[in-house]
């Protein structure tokens, strides 16, 4: 089987490759969405911790 045969897929190339492309897109998208959701939560948790820290240090410092 040469490269042309693999790309043509016996005249079914459009159907076969569009399916593989679509599933690849879903696989990449799911990784990206999962990483993005995690990164957003890490960022917002760090922000909350920073605010809590600054409130604590303000309340503990002598006025």
């Amino acid at each position: 089987m040469n490269l042309k045969d693999v790309l043509d897929m016996g005249d079914y190339g459009v159907y076969v490759w569009s399916c593989y492309g679509l599933v690849l897109a879903v696989l990449v998208l799911n990784v990206w969405l999962g990483r993005r959701a995690l990164a957003e939560q890490v960022l917002s948790a760090k922000r909350r911790l920073k605010i809590a820290e600054s409130i604590n240090s303000e309340s503990s410092s002598p006025s």
């Binding site: 089987m1 693999v6 897929m9 016996g10 079914y12 190339g13 159907y15 076969v16 569009s18 399916c19 593989y20 679509l22 599933v23 879903v26 696989l27 998208l29 799911n30 990784v31 969405l33 999962g34 990483r35 959701a37 995690l38 957003e40 939560q41 890490v42 917002s44 948790a45 760090k46 909350r48 911790l49």
Partner: protein
């Protein structure tokens, strides 16, 4: 065993474990996907009837089996959350839903593309296709129901009931081709005694299915960690873990 389960249900432990396990699932999944794709696209011989179009099964079947597997995991996790009141189980169920929905979309679209040259139509209101479409609506309904509550505990309970009730659709999807006259072909690999698929065509499919399961585990780890952080926003362990 029970002690391990008890330990795993602790959010800080689960957060840490999911982070450690993820690369051990992700990279083998990628490796197996490459092996499975080469096996399916190049090494497997063409089908005598469907010719090269049959190679779509190497992405369609793993997507379809994953869409059913993820729903089952989601329903079991939701059930565990309701019965034993384990918050982490609800987090697992919530993390499963978007991944499952995407794989159901992939199943429906690749099935439709596969159907055009094989059946001469993009869509038919066939038992297998219709029940898979209902599966997508169940995932979307689950996510919409969760989003409609501000209170996480109420969202957990309500969405868990939907997930548990909806699991009845899983065997309907699986056995629809056996129970009813269907345009969709019958099972090829569930008959362990005599699979109706030749060995050189079967191994890339099994490799791809294993790769998709590992991939799901890796993506679930990320989603679960995000979900744990969202729920544990005021927990004291966060300061140590994120420092």
């Amino acid at each position: 065993m029970w002690l391990w389960f008890h330990k795993l249900s602790s959010p800080p432990y689960a957060y840490r474990t999911a982070g450690l396990v993820r690369p051990w699932l992700f990279w083998p999944a990628i490796l197996l996907m490459i092996v499975g794709a080469v096996g399916g696209l190049v090494l497997a011989p063409e089908d005598y009837q469907q010719k090269d179009a049959f190679r779509i099964i190497y992405v369609h079947v793993p997507s379809a089996s994953l869409s059913l597997m993820i729903y089952t995991v989601m329903a079991v996790a939701a059930g565990v959350g309701v019965i034993w009141r384990i918050k982490l189980a609800h987090a697992v169920a919530a993390a499963c839903a978007p991944i499952g929905a995407w794989f159901t979309v992939a199943t429906l679209v690749t099935g439709s593309i596969y159907g055009k040259p094989m059946w001469g139509t993009w869509w038919e209101w066939d038992p297998r296709l219709t029940s898979e479409l209902i599966l997508l609506f169940l995932y979307l309904g689950y996510m919409a129901l969760r989003a409609s509550f501000d209170d996480t505990q109420r969202a957990d309970r309500a969405s868990a009931i939907l997930a548990i009730v909806g699991v009845v659709n899983v065997p309907i999807v699986k056995y629809s081709v056996v129970w009813w006259n269907s345009l969709h072909q019958g099972p090829s690999i569930s008959k362990l005694a005599a699979p109706s698929i030749e060995g050189s065509m079967l191994w890339p499919l099994l490799v791809m299915m294993l790769a998709f399961i590992l991939y799901f585990g890796a993506v679930l780890c990320d989603r679960l960690r995000g979900e744990i952080l969202r729920r544990e926003r005021n927990a004291s362990w966060l300061s140590e873990r994120l420092a």
